[in-house]
Symmetry: D2
Subunit: 357 residues, 4 copies
């Protein structure tokens, strides 16, 4: 089995992590890298002398007999670059969000099919051992009926000047929610505020309604003194907190529950049965999620499989963000999530303009 030949486009904040992983995984070689900044390329070439060549023009990669590319460029450029690469027969792993509008995402899905390419989106949390453990508990019925899920992703910093906090942080939580609940949200309401930079929301609160009356809420903030990354899943039998900031005890399972028991003798009044039980912190063998994701990408290429976080998955997440975006612009009005794959034409125009700014 010969090594898969990988090219990496984008060597800024996240790209180096992808490059490191593909260098370390057996069965792949990073042949070439591309970035607009010569300085970023130099830094990578010095750190990883294994890489054969670098270029500021990503289309040079089409001449290098590559199997696949990984794209970690600014989101506004994802669509054009991913499309171009697939049209040149390259499998694509693109960072989240797949595109800045769902129409483009739908188009990428078609291009992938037409060119027989693997199209995968870097929704890393679906490859995270802790998230997968929570999913398993839900699937096994261990938590009972899911009542609601609360998600927080906050810290200070890493402001972006082109995207707001919803585009930047919420895709992680939307991806996790969809994965855990195995469903798309029906509607979304988002309230945001642009505290530091006019017109770029840096704080946002998003309420989502999922089927079966499951409520979910996402707090996204670039303006919080303490770093928080936490998912609380409340079920009728048990409750789980997944705290990604904890170095070791990432998951805590609370054997607490509340049950309403209808007592017929009291004219429809309820009485409540609480139970307080043990808390369990399960031992989780923690593999680097990005490693698992990269290995999955290689496996899909070799075996012709559809990735877990494929183009449809990426598009669904974008549709939810689009709805949140529209809600936020109308002061929190409830917006139905568009699930027919066609974003608002205005969004499409705007996101394409961004790509050429």
């Amino acid at each position: 089995m010969t090594d898969l030949r990988i090219g990496a486009i984008g060597c800024g904040y996240w790209g180096p992590n992808l490059i490191r992983n593909f260098i370390e995984i057996p069965g792949a070689q990073v042949i070439a890298i591309s970035d607009l900044q010569q300085e970023s390329l130099d830094r990578m070439m010095q750190r990883f002398p294994q890489i054969e060549t670098s270029t500021r023009n990503y289309t040079d990669l089409f001449e290098m007999n590559l199997d696949a590319v990984v794209i970690a460029t600014p989101p506004a450029t994802h669509y054009e670059i991913a499309r171009n690469c697939m049209e040149h027969g390259l499998h694509v792993l693109v960072e989240k969000p797949i595109t800045l509008n769902s129409r483009d995402a739908a188009d990428l899905i078609k291009v992938a099919e037409a060119n027989n390419c693997v199209l995968m989106v870097g929704h890393t949390f679906e490859y995270n051992s802790a998230v997968r453990a929570v999913k398993q508990m839900i699937r096994d019925g261990e938590l009972g009926d899911i009542y609601y899920i609360d998600a927080i992703r906050a810290s200070l910093g890493l402001f972006q000047t082109k995207a707001n906090v919803v585009w930047d942080l919420a895709p992680h939580d939307i991806s996790i929610l969809r994965y855990l609940l195995d469903a798309d949200p029906i509607s979304v309401s988002t309230h945001g505020s642009s505290c530091v930079q006019e017109g770029i929301e840096d704080v946002a609160y998003t309420t989502l309604t999922f089927p079966n009356n499951v409520l979910a809420h996402i707090r996204s903030s670039w303006l919080d003194p303490s770093k928080q990354r936490r998912i609380t899943v409340v079920g009728s039998k048990k409750m789980v907190i997944y705290d990604d900031v904890e170095p070791l005890e990432k998951i805590k399972i609370y054997d607490k529950g509340v049950k309403a028991i209808r007592r017929t003798d009291t004219f429809g009044e309820f009485s409540f049965a609480y139970h307080y039980g043990d808390v369990v912190i399960p031992y989780i063998r923690f593999d680097e999620p990005l490693r698992v994701q990269c290995q999955h990408f290689l496996e899909c290429i070799r075996e012709g499989k559809q990735p877990q976080t494929d183009g449809h998955n990426g598009m669904r997440v974008v549709q939810v963000v689009e709805a949140a975006q529209r809600s936020m612009k109308s002061a929190g009005d409830t917006v139905l999530v568009n699930s027919n794959g066609h974003g608002d034409p205005a969004d499409v125009r705007q996101s394409r303009e961004l790509a050429h700014a």
Copy 2:
């Protein structure tokens, strides 16, 4: 100076704390107590033999030459009892919420004026040393411009069967927000879910808009595995976390900030100046907030002063809860906070019915 003669109405969950405080404060005596349950009365009389008498009928207290009453009965009964007591010339300290609709609250304010009574509401957090310290920092400009405030109040349990989680928990946070920002919210949007008991929301997310574009958000939950009571105030200069669950380090001040600096040479683009600084946990002499509140009540009676948490204060909080309530019933629609003192007639009818249920 003779001792003020106090009567206590309601000896259930919170009443005993009030009774203990008035017994321990010099200058007051708890003369009589009242409750519908004989068992609660017996327990109190045994624990506090200082109390002269007890009765299941609170109107008996009118014959005892009292100066004031403290009311800790179910919220639906506040209006009728407080009104009756003031009409008999008694000063009143009533637990939060003052009433279940703002029209009744407005009425109580009038009755207090007409009878020359002190009317005070038990919004304890305005008497909390930690909350007061945060207020002082805001007033002194130490935090800079306030960007937004995030409030969480969650735990497992203490379900109520007549009020939802917004009526039960949010008044604390609304009271704190109004106090810290020295302003009323303009509008409210609340999303809630009734997980355990049909029709009684046990989880709710409330977004509030305050003047000067200050955003605030309250998470209220009876269904959370970990007890949380936290206020995060984010300003342009500093950020503060007040964590009421922390036994000692209740306030943490983060000397972190983000500033947008317009640079004219870059076509309106912003660049950001961060600063990371020390964290300070100020030493706060912690007096029991309820003690401070009870002392303030006695002081207002003696000196004829208006309490900090007077009837208007209590009414404003109720108006915000009413708006949150209406928003929640219409799936999160933004609702303007009614600040003319007149609740919805339907609310009034409903709350009065509750009182006689």
Copy 3:
């Protein structure tokens, strides 16, 4: 069944807690209290009007037809007061340490027997639900062989001017260690330092050797910026941390272990089998330990039973402290624990002098 008539001697720091408990427990009445300070008596009489009478001379209590006394006076006075009370036929619950030397403790045991009195020492932690849960795990073999136990008791403050930190804090941990291991330590080595006050050690490190090569270590400090009260029990199968400062999660059981497996093929070298497993925080119904202790005292009186923390138990703890004391005075030399019940004559003289200082 008539109520037991209790007298309380000593109303300073700890006495009020004992008084409150005996007032609240059905089946007992606090008839009289005694203290040298009139102010302390007044405060108690105001707080608990149930108490019939107070006196500055504890021997007045002998005329009041009492059944028992609880003694919470300075340790140096325990011997004389307890002896006197028992000689007047009163059952005695005395605070820890029972006496300041083991010879006096032995004498009190004889007096108790001669007068047919219950003699109990207030080693509260033996009545603590969390400590009892750990004991149960050890007894059930859940932890495997016990390797060692580490105990920390530190905080800032509550300096005493007559006793050092070993006499003040270590008895708690010695009592817990004896209870958990069901054994007396064989030898003790203590290193201490008098930082603030000459001649009064405020920091001490005590190493104890128990049978079966079980090592134990106690860190005692009045000079630590953070309050710590923690017992770590390390066994061959599991490890347990009991953290008394944690409000809810007092016990954490770690399913981690290390085993040496002798492999004959490698010339006596060992290889190690680790296992990392779940962490469990068991739900513990937490009753106030002092309440349980007080109830046990009443029960022993009624049923003529020997208390769990009887005079012998109290004397054994004092013997360990005496050994620690001697070791500390000789710069940490290892000292065998005297278990014949006879303290050093010099200690006896000194402790009796303290009583009359």
Copy 4:
């Protein structure tokens, strides 16, 4: 300025960190690596293709025109390898402990002088920003007089089969204590226990006496369910906790203090003035300590400077460990720290035997 040519001997647990740092620091090149295990060499060569060559025989490095070597082999081999390298004119950075007996350390110091070589020991914590910040506070008198220092280094695992926990973990804390107090301990008493493996202590408690009656204590454990690395410095004015396990808030300064004030009117009794103040968590720019250490090594070579952690420093630490070792073998007897540079002949023989085992 040409790059310094570095060779690395030992590519096991710690070596790769040294190699990575010297590769990333400008001004140095890792030319060659050596290890007994071919597998370790292969792994390194694949990860760092910049390295020119590898060999299982470290003496091959003498033919490569190197400037310096970094030695991260088992401690028992440090003496022979370091000596050999310096005799071939190479500057040496050797991992801690410098040798397994102080006589060998003294010899290395002489060899370094004779061959004009830089001899540096990898006591990384002296290059740690947090430790340096604490040192600065002590030096500036901010903490007042130092009363005592408590150090804990515990976790589960990483058992060694040839060295005990004192040799493995305590050198870090001894190095920190010497650095903070700018002094050598006068005497040492160590109690240890061999729980898992006969003859190899895995738990140890070490008490050290420093000049000016400063007490220090080190708890070292391979058998603790929770990872702890904490230094508490208690001074007369302030107290500091340096917690290396905390990701962000590594240093907490407590403005708490206790002072004894002699009051002449009370016959030599003391009264205490406490002050409780703010807690400050200073912002510390955190550079990787190993990076700082490696840069310091290069700087010493270029400028002919004596390293902060030079041979004498390394030898002093070994002398303290030797004393602890002797104390532990005699059940905790107090042992004076030998500061004349000559270890016990038996130790020398044993450590040299280990090197050829």
